[in-house]
């Protein structure tokens, strides 16, 4: 049997971590070879869907909830939990929809407030602080076509009194912010660009990115807003219609292993979903850690998000349109 | 070598009918000139023989083979364009070598020899490496000529090949053309607007008028016996003088002067066709018709007088021995046999 697996990874530092934490151990253990296609979830999903007659991925990783659609369209295979030796160690929310075809979540990115600890006149503590007029000219919002942007917006909406049924308060807040001088970007590098060169002080975004900024030499810090911290799940999914699913399952199994998750947290500050994972104090401070920490995370119902995504994006677009 | 036959060839550009049914038979090795007014369809005819223009109806044969629908490159012809059509990206020598290369005639060295020879023929040996754009008009024309003759085709089509050359060079080129023609016995169709050139070079002249063949024949025939008014007018630049033939067979002009005419004609109103070089001029007093000098045009070896004869404008062409000036009355004489009469 063919001993190669094709997966997607997210490039850059993420891909490096992916390699050290998951792929290398996997290759060592199975003698198989892993080929990586560097693609964001959205692009990878589009590719998966278009290629449904001859998919090239064996395992596909998503960070924006695409597994829900993928599973519904039959592009992904249901997973038998018993075939994953590490499934038992996962928190329950990380393995909720195996039967539908959604794979396990193997990392969590926490969405909070990224800010410039030097330039920003005060350290923000709550989502409400985003509305502080002193900050608005230095505020960077992220478009909700971006997964993190979506979660950040929903959290802002919630802090303004909205719900998943009613996002109008969030939209109102956004238009107020835009009027006051905030800007909207749609990709992560633009956030870096804004922080590095254009006097941006604060942005609702993910913990791992704050870490990236710090590594790049910026004075960025991450805080969790007092109202709560939305979580973005990174899932590892089993692609349907591929010959070597056994091997693919093995790969997913390693992704959710204790060692792999510790390694990810160490390298990129992602929160583990494996309850057995143990983190050093320094790392733990940057992530949501342990049963309690994880419980504090808010997970907006991904099914609802998927159901409403089109409408929300349209409403959002109309709100921000100049 | 090959004969060329056109059978009732017609050609129209959209609504513009250009050739109205041309039939022509050109023998193998013949040198035929096409003469005709500007825009009468000479170039169009050459292009049809070359295969560059489809006929509207009719048939074209070369060497006994129906080529009406044959591609030009398969016809073994060679054509010199009125606008030269030199390839701008090739040097003079490369332009001339082009037909040899295309037809695969000879080795590279032989081709180069032929090119050199053709360049010498047109007296351009020193410009072999220039690009066409760097040549004068006459030089370009000679390159085009060299390119047309270099490949010794069965049929040679030349469209006003010498129009931009000075008299000396033109004579030289005429001699070269005749010699090439004699040596290789090429069937040659030659378009020219220069009558003397046509008369001196050709075995036969085909006179065109508005897309029809007006007359054809040897140079001497066609010159001596123009069949139509157009022909005599076009070839000899003839004067038309109104007259009345009397019962005695002599002609009376409008002012009452009389002259003898050779042809026997029933009495009546006619036009006399007087060719300008047939009329001789003498000082007043000599026998002949009286006329008044209007203008004298100096032509070097010859001289043209514009005269007033019986109230009509008459041109004559004569030598430079005697000169008359404005207002002189002169006496004109003309061999009665050379006067043609056409009814009015």
């Amino acid at each position: 049997q063919d001993k190669t697996l094709t997966i997607n990874s997210f490039g850059g530092a993420y891909e490096q971590a992916h390699r050290t934490c998951v792929i290398d151990p996997f290759e060592k253990e199975t003698g198989a070879k892993v080929q990586i296609v560097t693609a964001y979830s959205a692009d990878a999903f589009a590719q998966l869907r278009a290629q449904k007659d001859a998919p090239q991925f064996d395992v596909i990783n998503f960070s924006g909830g695409q597994e829900i659609v993928g599973a519904a369209e039959g592009l992904l295979s249901p997973i038998d939990a018993s075939k994953l030796s590490n499934a038992g160690d996962l928190y329950d929310f990380a393995k909720a929809n195996f039967a539908k075809g959604e794979g396990p979540a193997y990392s969590i990115a926490a969405i909070g407030l990224v800010y410039d600890s030097v330039k920003s006149p005060k350290a923000p503590t709550s989502w409400k602080d985003l509305l502080d007029p002193a900050l608005s000219e230095h505020l960077v919002l992220t478009d909700i076509s971006n997964g993190y942007g979506m979660l950040g917006f929903l959290m802002l909406n919630q802090s303004e009194g909205g719900t998943l049924e009613n996002i109008q308060p969030g939209l109102d807040a956004v238009s107020k912010l835009l009027e006051a001088g905030a800007i909207v970007v749609s990709t992560s590098p633009e956030i870096q660009q804004e922080f590095a060169q254009n006097d941006a002080w604060i942005a609702p975004y993910a913990s791992d990115y704050a870490y990236t900024l710090r590594k790049a030499g910026l004075t960025a810090k991450f805080v969790q807003g007092s109202e709560g911290t939305p979580a973005s799940f990174i899932t590892s999914n089993l692609v349907a219609n591929r010959p070597n699913q056994e091997l693919a399952l093995k790969f997913i199994d390693i992704s959710i292993s204790k060692a792999a998750q510790e390694c990810f947290a160490e390298a990129l500050r992602y929160s583990p979903t494996n309850s057995k994972a143990e983190l050093s104090g320094e790392v733990a401070a940057d992530v949501a850690y342990g049963e309690e920490g994880v419980k504090g995370l808010i997970r907006f119902d991904p099914a609802k998000i998927e159901a409403n995504r089109k409408a929300w994006v349209e409403a959002w677009n109309k709100t921000i349109a100049q | 070598m090959a004969n060329v036959r056109l059978e009732n060839v017609k050609k129209a550009f959209g609504p513009v009918q250009v050739l109205h049914g041309i039939s022509l038979d050109i023998a193998s090795g013949e040198f035929v000139s096409l003469l005709g007014a500007s825009g009468c369809g000479k170039t169009t005819l050459l292009r049809i023989v070359a295969g560059l223009e489809a006929v509207t109806s009719g048939k074209v044969e070369i060497g006994g083979r129906d080529v009406t629908a044959l591609a030009p490159e398969k016809r073994d012809i060679s054509m010199m364009f009125q606008s030269y059509a030199l390839l701008p990206h090739l040097s003079v020598a490369e332009n001339i070598r082009f037909p040899l290369r295309m037809r695969g005639i000879g080795s590279r060295e032989q081709q180069q020899d032929k090119v050199r020879a053709a360049l010498e023929t047109v007296q351009l040996g020193h410009l072999a490496d220039r690009k066409p754009r760097q040549l004068s008009g006459g030089q370009q024309q000679r390159v085009a000529l060299a390119r047309a003759i270099v490949s010794d085709p069965q049929v040679l089509l030349l469209d006003e090949p010498l129009s931009n050359l000075d008299a000396r060079l033109r004579e030289d080129m005429q001699v070269e053309l005749i010699e090439i023609h004699k040596r290789l016995k090429l069937t040659t169709i030659f378009v020219t607007h220069d009558q003397e050139e046509a008369l001196s070079l050709s075995d036969r002249i085909v006179l065109f008028n508005a897309g029809k063949v007006e007359q054809q024949g040897t140079p001497a025939d066609i010159y001596a016996q123009p069949a139509t008014e157009f022909a005599s007018n076009f070839l000899g630049s003839a004067n038309l003088v109104a007259a009345e033939i009397g019962t005695d067979g002599s002609a009376t002009l409008a002012d009452g002067q009389r002259l003898a005419v050779g042809q026997d004609r029933p009495a009546g109103k006619v036009s006399l066709v007087l060719r300008q070089e047939d009329i001789s001029i003498a000082p007043e007093g000599a026998a002949g018709l009286k006329a008044t000098v209007r203008t004298r045009v100096f032509l070097g070896a010859r001289c043209r007088y514009i005269l007033d004869l019986a109230g009509e404008r008459v041109q004559i062409l004569t030598g430079n021995d005697q000169t008359f000036t404005f207002g002189d009355t002169v006496s004109l004489s003309i061999d009665p046999a050379r006067i043609r009469i056409i009814p009015r």
Partner: protein
């Protein structure tokens, strides 16, 4: 042309115009070059600190070099295929002997009209359904399709200004179809074919969307690599890659010029 044929104020205006245009064209490149020598992790201009570390990173990282070679390979193949197919079609259209030439000319433009992503998805769906997994050939075909319009357009435009008698003259000199193409039509269309070929190369070399969707492991082009790098961890390494590309281009053109006399080609 004689010097006084062009008024001096026009000369001055032309100089200023050229300078401004060149500044405009080069401005972002200067930024890119500047950033590439930056010491810092992020893209900022003017750069803080000078270093060659990003060049080191790029040159020692095989992903860039292998992506570069993939791109070059595809771009060269596309240049050939698009120029041959597009050039041939342009010549046929130019002669106006096919029914509906004008319509066909528009037809050849259509790959430009749709955003590449639509084509990318369509091509991926189609290929997967009919041939299965994508390959190098898929990408080659895809790039050829989107490069053809450039060749057709530029060649058509140039041919429309050339002397129609030249091809006829060649025919009377015995040039067959192929010879006419080779020795008359192609030299006449050369500026257009050249521009088209260059566009084709460039389109393929710089194409990201189609390459993004049609890729598979081991088939990553340089733009996809750069795009990914910028998406996931933007650092001056992309600037270093681009600077190397700029330098390579200049050197390549000058070398070709030395060897073939490009200025002569450029003047026809």
């Amino acid at each position: 042309m004689a010097s006084f044929l062009i008024p001096s104020w026009v000369r001055l205006a032309a100089r200023i115009f050229i300078v401004v245009t060149v500044i405009f064209l080069l401005a972002p490149l200067v930024v890119v070059v500047g950033v590439s020598f930056s010491e810092s992790q992020f893209i900022a201009f003017p750069p803080d600190g000078l270093s060659l570390r990003w060049y080191q990173t790029v040159l020692s990282d095989t992903v860039y070099t292998s992506a570069f070679w993939t791109s070059i390979r595809i771009a060269l193949l596309v240049t050939v295929s698009a120029t041959v197919l597009g050039g041939a079609a342009a010549i046929a259209l130019h002669r106006r002997m096919l029914p509906g030439s004008a319509f066909l000319a528009t037809f050849f433009l259509s790959p430009l009209v749709l955003p590449t992503i639509i084509y990318a998805i369509g091509m991926l769906m189609f290929w997967s359904a009919v041939f299965g997994p994508v390959s190098f050939v898929t990408l080659w075909i895809g790039h050829t399709v989107i490069a053809i319009p450039y060749v057709v357009r530029t060649t058509l435009a140039v041919l429309s200004e050339s002397d129609p008698f030249l091809e006829e003259a060649a025919r009377t000199m015995g040039a067959g179809r192929i010879q006419r193409l080779l020795y008359v039509v192609i030299p006449q269309g050369l500026p257009g074919l050249g521009a088209g070929a260059f566009f084709a190369f460039n389109i393929s070399f710089d194409e990201a969307v189609l390459s993004l969707f049609l890729r598979k492991p081991g088939l990553t082009t340089l733009p996809v690599q750069i795009y990914g790098q910028l998406e996931f961890s933007p650092d001056p390494s992309v600037a270093a890659v681009s600077t190397i590309m700029i330098a390579l281009t200049v050197v390549l053109i000058l070398v070709i010029d030395r060897m073939l006399g490009l200025q002569r080609f450029a003047s026809t």
